[in-house]
Amino acid sequence: MNDMTNKDDAGLNALLFGGESTLLNVKGFVGDGPFTEDDLRHAVKEAITQRRSGTAHISESFNDDAQKIDIRAVVASLQS
């Protein structure tokens, strides 16, 4: 198990600190759990791996297709 964790760590460190890119910043928004440090490292590694391998969906826009609602109109309709 320790061996696996060490390999995972080495792989993640190589993704973050090796190659042609220089790390400037990493931050995270964790889920509701439960999870361990290893789970978290694995999730970060997985995300970067999917991005590098092209299996992730990548866009320069969030592409929000939600229809905008005016809160004032909603509140007015609730009053009536």
Binding site: N13, L16, F17, E20, S21, T22, L23, L24, N25, V26, K27, G28, F29, V30, G31, D32, G33, P34, F35, T36, E37, D39, L40, R41, H42, A43, V44, E46, A47, I48, Q50, R51, T55, A56, H57, I58, S59, E60, S61, F62, N63, D64, A66, K68, I69, D70, I71, R72, V74, V75, L78, Q79
Partner: protein, 197 residues
Amino acid sequence: MTIHDIIKHFSSYTAAPVDPDDVAKQIKLAGIRDQIFFVEVDIEVRVLRGALHTYVLTKGVYSDPDICSDIFYAANQSRAWKRLVCCKELLHILDQSVSQTSTIDDFDKLIRGLCVPPNLGSINDGVQIWTDRLMFYYASAIVFPMRARELLLAAKIPAGQTLQEVAARVLDIPEPVAMLVLSDNWPSLYKAIIGSK
């Protein structure tokens, strides 16, 4: 333009939901030249909802390096959560150098800190982890603008529904964020973190 200016910009918004693309636009107006990419990934949402990864990419000896900011978000969560996650991680692009996680030691500290529930955190967790926690409140202030809060608090809520449910539905935001922003303590917290109402 600072992070506080960006939050103030959105504070008067009455159109919902707030689009992360609009937040990215404001960040660019703040002078950030990063290439920003939204990256939807298949990761366990129970573990990680999203992340920011900012790096310098050197393509060749004679080309200028690019600064890229990848905004990761888990595919398996609602659009409301995706928006919140993306807004929070976008705001981290404005992290001061002291708050950035850029070394192996910083990263190890961040991972350890993220595993600690915020209410159990200590001052020794370091500035990177506290910035991470604080940014959740900043992002909440953006997706649930102060003006929208004022309007909804004055609204007549139909019987059988709660104000929190109506707010979460109308703004298309996660219910915990609706509960946080509608709490009595929010105006004073907002004032403390933003500087003014």
